[in-house]
Structure formats: C-alpha cells, structure tokens
C-alpha cells in the first residue's frame, strides 16, 4: 500500500496495467453475455425474464463492493494519511452510484413482470435506495466544499458513517420477511443456483469487477491530473 503512495509510481503502474484490464474486461463480458443470453436455460418459473439477473445481480454486488472500497479508502486516508486514498474514495463514488442505479433500474424492470409492480417498499429495496442516497450525499459533500483538503476530511466522516448501511443491505433479506429472494450465491452451505445458470452469473460478476477496476484506475488518473492542473494554476497566480 505504501508502495503506491507515490502518485508518479502509481500512474506508471496504472498506465501499464490499464490496457490489459480493459482487454480482460471485454473478453469476460463477451463470454459472460454469451453464457447469460444464449447457453443459460430459461427459468422454469420465470421464463426468459430470468436473464435480467445476469445484469442485475452483479450490479448490486458492485454497488455494495464499491461503497466498501470507498469506506476502506476513507479509513486508510484517516489512519495512514495515504495521499492517494482520498483520490480513490472520491473517484469510486460516481462509479458506485451508477452501479447502484443500474441495479435499482434493472430490478424495477424485473419486478414489473414478476411482482406486478415497478417498486415495492420492501427491506432490500429500501436499503438499496438509501445506499443510492448515501452515494449522492457523499458526492454532494465533495461538490459543496471548495477547499480539497477540507472536503477530503469531511467526506471521510460521511463515507465511514454511511458504511453502517452496507451490512443492513446485505442481510436485509434474512432479517425481514422480504419479497426479494434471499441470498442464493454467497451464503453458508454454498450456492443454490444450478450450474448452467451459476457460471454465467459468476463470469458476469468478475467482468463487472474488472470493469470497475478499469473505470476506477482511469478516474483516479484523471483526478490526479486535475489536481496537478489546479496546483499549476495556483502557482501561476502566485507568480503574477
């Protein structure tokens, strides 16, 4: 972790790794989508609509995962003063918000034919909606406070306090009687999904994770560049 503390070194590694990450991401999406849309069998109850799962479930996983990354990065920034941790947390938020929105939107599209409603106020959906609001609040803090150092310190508090919601989302289907089905992949005693449906789902999950990695590295690179530009501009004003 300390090895990556130097932004120049981080940029060198990120630049070297990024093309491969993108290539693997595209390949995984190709395999995963083929598996999801072509080879996976339709569900005996839900028919073809079950294919929404291959977009919806990994997006929801990533929404939780990205917030966890954000909270971890904030903790690292607060404890170790790691110079890139705040950049990592800040740039992860918009990506996580999009994953969160994607899972809500596809869930809504899936809910209409299955439950007969676009939206129900159920524990899993409500907690996921709160997660979306937390992402928005976190981004609003960065936008509202002009001074970057101060914004970083305040945003850490917001990210860490909001992390309380993550276990609530994960276990909401176990704690409350929910319309949403309980966990069927990451659970004690192994997955309950049949093999031909499980492997495309896992490939899609991996593809989403790598997509996040690629987007995150790109966004971090852009953020570092933006900070450099800001410093140059401030230096120019000082010279005048």
């Amino acid at each position: 972790m300390q090895f990556l503390a130097n932004p120049t070194r981080f940029l060198r590694i990120a630049n070297a790794v990024l093309p491969y990450v993108w290539a693997i991401t595209v390949a995984l999406f190709a395999v995963g989508l083929y598996g999801a849309l072509v080879t996976a069998p339709p569900d005996y109850q839900q028919g073809e609509t079950v294919r929404i799962m291959y977009v919806h479930v990994p997006a929801a996983w990533m929404a939780l995962f990205v917030y966890t990354v954000m909270a971890l990065a904030s903790a690292v920034a607060a404890i170790f003063r790691h110079p890139l941790a705040d950049v990592a947390a800040k740039t992860a938020a918009p990506i996580g918000a999009v994953f969160c929105f994607l899972s809500l939107a596809t869930g809504s599209l899936w809910g209409k034919p299955m439950w007969g409603a676009w939206w129900v106020w159920d524990a899993r959906l409500t907690s996921m909606f709160v997660l979306m609001l937390l992402y928005i609040g976190y981004m609003a803090i960065w936008a509202a406070i002009e001074e970057p150092h101060r914004a970083a310190m305040v945003a850490r508090v917001v990210a860490l306090v909001g992390f309380i919601n993550i276990p609530i989302v994960k276990f909401s289907v176990d704690w409350w009687n929910s319309l949403h089905q309980p966990a069927s992949v990451f659970r004690m005693g192994g997955p309950t999904i049949a093999g031909p449906m499980l492997w495309p789902l896992l490939v899609m999950g991996l593809a989403y994770a790598l997509l996040f990695l690629a987007l995150h590295l790109t966004a971090m690179r852009a953020e570092i560049a933006a900070r450099k530009i800001r410093q140059i501009q401030i230096a120019e004003i000082g010279d005048r």
Partner: protein
C-alpha cells in the same frame, strides 16, 4: 463532569433566551401536521391510519431543520475554537451539544407530538406507545442531526445538503419508530421495535460524538 453540565446549561440558556429554539420547531411541526389533512383531504378514517406516520415525518423534519443551531453559531463566533483547547475532550463537547439540542428541541417535540395527534385523528390508544417510541427515537434523531450539522458547519448554504446526508440515516429510526407505535400490532413486535430503537440510540451515542468531532476539527483547522 461539572464542565460538561456547564456546557449543556450554556447551550440550553442560549437557545431559550434567543428564541427560535423549541418554540419555532414546535411551530414548524404544527404547520406540517396541519398541511397534511389539507393535502390529502379530511377523510377521518384515512387520517387515523396515517396519523403515526404523519407525526413521525413531521418530527423528523422539525429536528432536521433545527439541526444547524447545534454548531453554527459557536463556529461563527469562535467559541468552538476555544472549546477544542479546553480540558473537556472535543468528542464530549460534541456529545454535550447534542444532548442540549435533544433537551431543548427534540424532547419537547416528542412529548408534544402525540398530544397534537388529535389534529390528524390519532387513535387515543396509540398516544402512549407513540410517545414512548418518540422519546426514545428523538435521542437518535438529535445524535444523527449532530453529525449532519457538524459536516456542513462551515458551508454557506448547508441546509439542503444536511437533508441529503441526514434523511437516509433517519430511515431506520422511522421504520422502527413506526412499528413501535402501532397500538394493535402483535404484542412482541412493539417491544422488539422499541428495543431496536434503543439500540440505534445507543449506537448513535458512540458514533455521533466521534464523527461530529472529526468533521468539526476539519473545519476548525
């Protein structure tokens, strides 16, 4: 301990003498409660069904709108700077100010709200459970509001931002507060929800001073 009590007393005196404290919050609360029947029509049966929810939401909004009073003035006139250097740990200062906010604003609202329930045709049987749930829940509300107020203390127009940050965190209080204030629910449910409300308040007692103090410090540097 005396210093902490002195802090609480100072905040209480300031709120009471300046006006715009509990009285204004109560006025706001009344306005929201009165607007509701106008907005959805005067159907008594419908009002009775939504009464606990309407009262809870009015309570959330009133506490939220009074939140900026917790730190704003002391931040602007420099009192907070002095408090960081005092013998009382800054986390405890934040806790004392949240307690003062609870005593001066949330608690009076929580006590008055069930009584004002007659405006929205609240069932008489629901008054007592609602009052108990609101008193417990209001502790959590004040503590969470303190985090929101601290995070936005140095911002010119922090009001909307506070709502975005704080309202999502109010969702659990609202959910369990509502299920604790249903008079004819299953007997175990009320007690269990009340216990979870207590748990949220206790967790807030730990998290809120830490988070508020950390956020305030970043503004005071």
């Amino acid at each position: 301990m005396n210093l902490i009590l002195a802090l609480i007393k100072r905040d209480l005196t300031l709120t009471l003498r300046q006006g715009g404290g509990a009285g204004t919050a109560l006025g706001f609360f009344l306005c929201v409660v009165v607007l509701l029947p106008i907005g959805i029509g005067p159907d008594q049966a419908l009002l009775a069904r939504i009464a606990p929810g309407a009262l809870w939401i009015s309570l959330l909004l009133s506490v939220l709108l009074s939140a900026d009073r917790i730190y704003q003035q002391d931040y602007e006139d420099g009192s907070l700077d002095v408090m960081t250097m005092g013998p009382v740990p800054f986390e405890i200062v934040a806790l004392a100010k949240s307690v003062a906010h609870w005593l001066s604003t949330s608690l009076p609202l929580a006590i008055a709200a069930p009584i004002l329930g007659f405006l929205v045709n609240l069932e008489p049987a629901a008054i007592l459970p609602l009052a108990i749930a609101m008193v417990v829940g209001s502790i959590a509300l004040s503590l969470i509001a303190s985090i929101g107020a601290a995070v936005t203390v140095g911002l010119r127009r922090g009001g909307l931002l506070v709502s975005i940050l704080v309202l999502p965190l109010y969702v659990p209080v609202l959910i369990f507060g509502l299920s604790a204030s249903q008079p004819n629910a299953a007997p175990g449910l009320t007690a269990a929800s009340l216990l979870i409300l207590v748990a949220i308040a206790l967790a807030g007692l730990v998290v809120s001073p830490l988070a508020s103090a950390a956020a305030l410090r970043s503004y005071l540097k």
